[in-house]
């Protein structure tokens, strides 16, 4: 069967993650939530440690801790610290606590690197089911709330006047973000998840005229870079997660240079 091949499973895992992360990543870019994504992702390593300690599925533990983190950050915002300070504190302390917690687990010999940078070549059929289940859930949520999310992103009062509840839309984003983090751990690891979210969106931005074009373009580009990164890592025997992010980053550099050239020509 086709899923017997580890490269096929890896490709499907990368494409599934890219598909969910890129459109959501547009909102992360538009709402300037990159650091928020980081904090949520870094907290997930604590979730990994806890799930291993209590012998729960890693996905569930990461999801729950990512959700708790996102909620705590939302609640603490506007309480005297600037948002980026607060997120910086939370992101790195969550990571530090997670790493310390993992070190206590001497009964289970685990490779921390696999959770920090992903281990896409070891994706099992079960992992694939979780990744695609999560991707479909996130795409469904974001697609269903797309216009409402956009309105709330533009201006919360504008959303309220139209009968929407901006806090509910924020909750949709928070939940989606936690799911993406949980499914992406296996693919790129907690340290590089934010790159999967924002790099494709930022790359497509100069060529998009509408939010929808940016979302679709980001999804297409993210899938292409995931697959390209996977092939390259196989050819050059490099770590897969970081290779995918490198390919995405090179695309971003090309896009930014091209956009700069186009601006100069027009001006």
């Amino acid at each position: 069967m086709i899923l017997d091949d580890f490269m096929t499973r890896a490709a499907l895992a990368g494409i599934g993650t890219a598909l969910a992360a890129a459109p959501l990543g547009c909102f992360v870019v538009w709402r300037r939530m990159a650091y928020f994504g980081d904090a949520t992702a870094h907290a997930a390593i604590l979730g990994v440690a806890l799930s291993l300690a209590f012998q729960l599925p890693v996905f569930a533990g990461a999801l729950v801790v990512a959700l708790v983190m996102a909620t705590v950050v939302s609640l603490m915002s506007g309480r005297g610290y600037a948002m980026d300070t607060l997120l910086g504190v939370m992101a790195h302390s969550a990571l530090a606590f997670g790493l310390v917690a993992v070190s206590f687990l001497d009964s289970v010999r685990i490779d921390v690197m696999a959770y920090l940078f992903g281990d896409i070549l070891a994706v099992s059929r079960g992992d694939l089911a979780v990744i695609w289940g999560g991707a479909v859930l996130v795409l469904g949520l974001v697609g269903w709330r797309w216009s409402a999310l956009l309105t709330a992103t533009l201006n919360p009062d504008l959303a309220r006047a139209a009968g929407l509840d901006p806090r509910r839309e924020e909750l949709v984003l928070t939940l989606s973000l936690a799911v993406v983090v949980a499914v992406a751990i296996k693919v790129v690891g907690v340290l590089l998840i934010t790159a999967m979210l924002i790099v494709p969106a930022a790359t497509v931005r100069p060529f998009a005229r509408t939010p929808e074009a940016m979302g679709l373009g980001a999804a297409a580009l993210a899938m292409a870079t995931s697959y390209g990164g996977l092939r390259l890592s196989y050819a050059f025997d490099t770590p897969t997660g970081p290779t995918i992010v490198c390919v995405a980053a090179i695309c971003f550099a090309l896009s930014a240079s091209l956009a700069g050239l186009m601006r100069r020509q027009r001006g």
Binding site: V29, R31, A161, A162, P211
Partner: protein
């Protein structure tokens, strides 16, 4: 008069220790233009946000007519540069509207043919009119404008408010607005509410402008400019003047000085001609 569209009863809003609104009661009836004036920090924007449902009152509350449709034009809409947005797409937020409806709304707001442009490429005046067009697409019973002309020059904001009056005449919607452009706005209002944490005074523009509370807040000077604008306003709308219903920007630019000149010559107390 019919039941009010919005009725605010004894509304008190606190931000931590400070009281933003203290026991404010106010209602807006169908088809009415009500203007809220007040100095900075007087709670004007808080009041608007309370009507939209964005603040939790410490006491009292806001009662809206069932099924009330609100069109809202915010003070300022900051578009993140990373968010691409055409005018046409913006008009369909959050509900999709047909191409014909979008075109009509842009025409009606005085900015025809802008649909394909990026929001970020619009001038201040065009931007505010696109916001107005979007608000009108909601077919509002109540149009709420929060300092909608903050970024416009005086002829621009005068033209904007004249457009609002026409919209009211065409659609019969009520209008609740907050503004710093006292003279322009007050002359277009049926009722003025002077707010400074609490309601200082309320009534017809001429009446409010004469009250001691209003003068204490805004000084004597504004009376003069208001009279001036009252004159301008009556003139351009009252006599079937050939250009009376031409609402191009150029009209305002070319005609303002003409009207301003005789008004000043008639000895209206224009203590602040620069404004």
């Amino acid at each position: 008069m019919t039941d009010p569209l919005v009725e605010i009863r004894n509304l008190t809003v606190r931000y931590g220790e400070s009281v933003a609104l203290d026991d404010v009661s106010l209602s807006v009836a169908g088809g009415e233009i009500v203007t809220i004036v007040g100095p900075n920090g007087s709670g004007k924007s808080t009041l608007i946000r309370a009507i939209l449902g964005g603040v939790t009152p410490a006491r009292g509350g806001v009662h809206k007519a069932p099924g009330l449709r609100i069109g809202y034009v915010p003070q300022r809409l900051v578009l993140d540069p990373t968010l691409p947005m055409t005018v046409r797409r913006f008009l369909s937020l959050p509900r999709r509207v047909s191409a014909a409806a979008a075109r009509e709304a842009l025409d009606s707001a005085g900015v025809p043919g802008l649909g394909g442009r990026q929001m970020a490429a619009l001038s201040g005046g065009q931007f505010q009119r696109v916001l107005l067009a979007r608000a009108l697409l909601e077919r509002p019973d109540l149009l709420i404008l929060d300092e909608a002309t903050a970024g416009l020059d005086q002829p621009g904001s005068a033209a904007f408010y004249r457009r609002i009056e026409e919209v009211r005449a065409e659609t019969g919607c009520a209008v609740l607005m907050v503004s710093h452009d006292l003279h322009v706005v007050m002359s277009a209002s049926d009722r003025v509410v002077c707010l400074n944490g609490h309601v200082c005074c309320e009534g017809a523009p001429e009446v409010v402008a004469e009250t001691p509370d209003y003068r204490a807040l805004f000084g004597e000077g504004t009376r003069g400019t208001m009279a001036l604008y009252r004159h301008h306003h009556d003139h351009s709308h009252g006599d079937g003047h050939a250009h009376g219903h031409d609402h191009e920007h150029s009209h305002d630019h070319s005609h303002d000085p003409e009207h301003r000149q005789p008004a000043a010559a008639e000895g209206t107390q224009n203590s602040d001609p620069g404004r």
